[in-house]
Every structure is written in C-alpha cells, then in structure tokens.
C-alpha cells in the first residue's frame, strides 16, 4: 500500500480523530515514523519562533491593547505580512508539488465550518485581550520571566480540558 493510500485509510478509519473537522490543526499528517529525537528539529523551530515572538513584541500585553484600540499598526502589519508570505508559500508548495525532506507529498487540511468557530472565536478573543497572549506567547511570556503566567497557562489547560468535557453539550 502506498503512503497516500495508507494515509487515507488512517483518516477514514481512525475513529480517535472523528473530530478532525472540528479541530484541523490537531493532526499528524505524516505516515512515516521516526525515532522520538527527530522531534528536536521542532524544538529548534520553536526556539526561533519564541525569540521572534518576544523580539517583535507580539507577546506584549501593551501591543495587544494598542491593536484592539487601533493605536498602532504593528500587530496588523505582523499578522498581515505573515499571511501574505504564508499564502504565497502554500501556493508555491501546491503549484510545484513540493515534497517534504523525506519525499512525502505535502497535504493540506480542509476546514469545515461549524458554529464553534464563532462562539469559541469570541471567547478566545476576550481571553486574548485580557491576558495579552494567545497560546504561543503564553509559553514565551513565561520564558521572559513573567513566572505568574504559568498560572495563566495552567488555567488555559484547564479551559481546554473543560471544553473536552463539555464538548457534546455545546452547540457546534
């Protein structure tokens, strides 16, 4: 069986991931298995990304307030230019059928709409403005020495758990 066929089987028959349409980012696209230490390359990407988040002040509570008060272009510029580069990158990968360094075809996840994106989006927006951090910056803020943010992170984990617990009862 080819990798691609295998992958399809994995997607259709793996009931653990039945919530795929609700949670597209939570997915391992690769069918290859590597020793665990291959994951260190993601640690390295994380380090670079963390430095970037702090140096560009994306983790700054003040910058987030400025964004939501239209007092600074900074965050709009960051997100906007990141999306432009992202769109071009994804387009190039699709157009030239660029493969991974292991020769696998790169696959993209199509997201289906559900009402969770509205309700959850609004709730996250409220939390983003209070904490001045989305999930990535939470980790970076703790790294910069704001140790109390570890409590915020634990609370975010509790929030995620609560969502998992209540998921069946929530409108989607």
């Amino acid at each position: 069986m080819s990798t691609q066929e295998n992958h399809k089987k994995f997607l259709t028959e793996n009931t653990d991931f039945e919530m795929r349409s609700l949670d597209a980012v939570c997915f391992n696209e690769s069918e290859l298995s590597h020793p665990w230490w291959y994951n260190f390359k993601y640690l390295f990407v994380g380090v670079l990304f963390g430095i970037l988040l702090v140096k560009a002040e994306i983790v700054s509570w003040f910058r987030i307030q400025e964004m939501f008060k239209f007092q600074s272009f900074h965050m709009y510029g960051v997100i906007g230019s990141a999306v432009v580069v992202g769109v071009i990158s994804v387009w190039l990968i699709k157009k030239f059928k660029i493969k991974t360094i292991y020769g696998e075809p790169i696959e993209f996840v199509k997201k289906d709409f559900n009402k969770g994106q509205i309700y959850g989006g609004l709730l996250f927006g409220l939390g983003w403005a209070v904490t001045g951090a989305c999930p990535g910056p939470l980790f970076a803020q703790i790294g910069t020495g704001a140790s109390v943010v570890a409590v915020t992170l634990l609370s975010a984990i509790a929030g995620t758990w609560a969502y998992g617990r209540l998921r069946e009862k929530l409108p989607h």
């Binding site: 609700l22 430095i51 939501f68 999306v83 996250f124 790294g143 109390v148 634990l154």
Partner: protein, 189 residues
C-alpha cells in the same frame, strides 16, 4: 551599530511578519506539520488528565512534535529576554500610556505589565480575573474554535480557508469588546 545591538532592538513588523509566515512552509517541508500551537494544550490534557473523555483519547505521542515546539518557544523566550534583551522600556502609544496610568499601571519595563500580573496580586479578584479567568478563556475558546491565532489566522488564512477567516474575525471582535468595553471596568477593580 553592530549586529547584536541591532537584534536587541524591537523588531519591526515587516521583519517579524514575513519570518512568521515562513514558519508555515518550514514546518510543512521538514515534516508535513500544520502550524498550530493551541492544540499543544489538548495534547497536554490527553497525556496527563484524559479522564476517559473521548476528546482526549488519542495517541498524543504521535503529536509530540507540537510539545517540542512549545518547549522551544519557552526556551526562545528565555534567550530573547536574557541574551537579546532590549535595555530600553517598552514603547507604548502615549494615549494608551496615559489611560493605563489612570489605572495605576505605569511600569513599562516588561512586555507583561507586572503591576497586573504578579504573584502578590494573584489571589485578589483582579489577579484571579486577569490570570486565571483570562487563561481559561484562551484554553476553552481556542479549542472550541478549533485553533488559535497560529492555526486559524496564520495557517488557515494562508490556505485560504473560509472557516479560519470567520474564526479570525471573531477573535478580533472578542478582543475589541474586551479591550474597549470590559477591561475599563476590570482595571478599576
């Protein structure tokens, strides 16, 4: 000005934004990974406290890369705050600075306002709302929405996904409501 001094200054958006955009092809090419950070919180739940909940019953070890990524972000935060630290206070829009001073926030030495987020405040009503309440909304909301700023606003929009655009608009609406309507009340507490 030498290179290190230049790196130590806050990076402008036109440097940071494109670099963030490049994380998308980087993760795809080195391992077919879709950029997204909030799912790490789900993997932590699945690894530590699954409690028989179906949403957390999956092989989180297959997703371990995401946990390595967030550990890296934490380490990156340490490096940026020590080796690459900006010696000057954070530049804040004068209007915002004036408004915050009205609430007793005038320390701009850190990216996080330490007068709001500190251990002494933690158990006050204000501290609980900002730290615990805010964190809960971030964790609950991102999973409910199926992604965060990275998964929806960067990755999803880059792949031209309409649901991600809807989610991003809702993130912004939620943020506008909080900053302009609710925070002025919370900051007075």
């Amino acid at each position: 000005m030498n290179l290190i001094d230049w790196i130590r200054q806050p990076w402008p958006w036109y440097v940071a934004g494109p670099l963030i955009g490049l994380v998308i092809p980087l993760l795809l090419i080195i391992g077919n990974k879709t950029f997204g950070i909030s799912s790490s919180l789900r993997h932590i739940c699945a690894a530590c406290i699954p409690a028989g909940i179906s949403y957390f019953k999956y092989d989180w070890k297959r997703e371990a890369w995401n946990l390595f990524l967030v550990c890296g972000i934490f380490l990156g935060g340490i490096i940026a705050a020590t080796l690459l630290q900006n010696p000057d206070p954070v530049q804040v829009n004068p209007k915002l600075a004036e408004e915050l001073a009205g609430y007793g926030i005038n320390d701009f030495s850190n990216l996080v306002p330490l007068q709001l987020f500190n251990w002494e405040n933690l158990l006050s009503l204000k501290g609980l709302l900002f730290t615990v309440g805010g964190g809960f909304l971030v964790g609950f909301g991102t999973r409910y929405a199926g992604g965060c700023t990275s998964g929806h606003s960067i990755m999803g929009l880059s792949n031209l996904q309409l649901p991600s655009l809807i989610a991003t608009i809702c993130f912004m609406v939620g943020g506008f409501i909080m900053t302009n309507l609710i925070l002025p009340i919370l900051l007075k507490l």
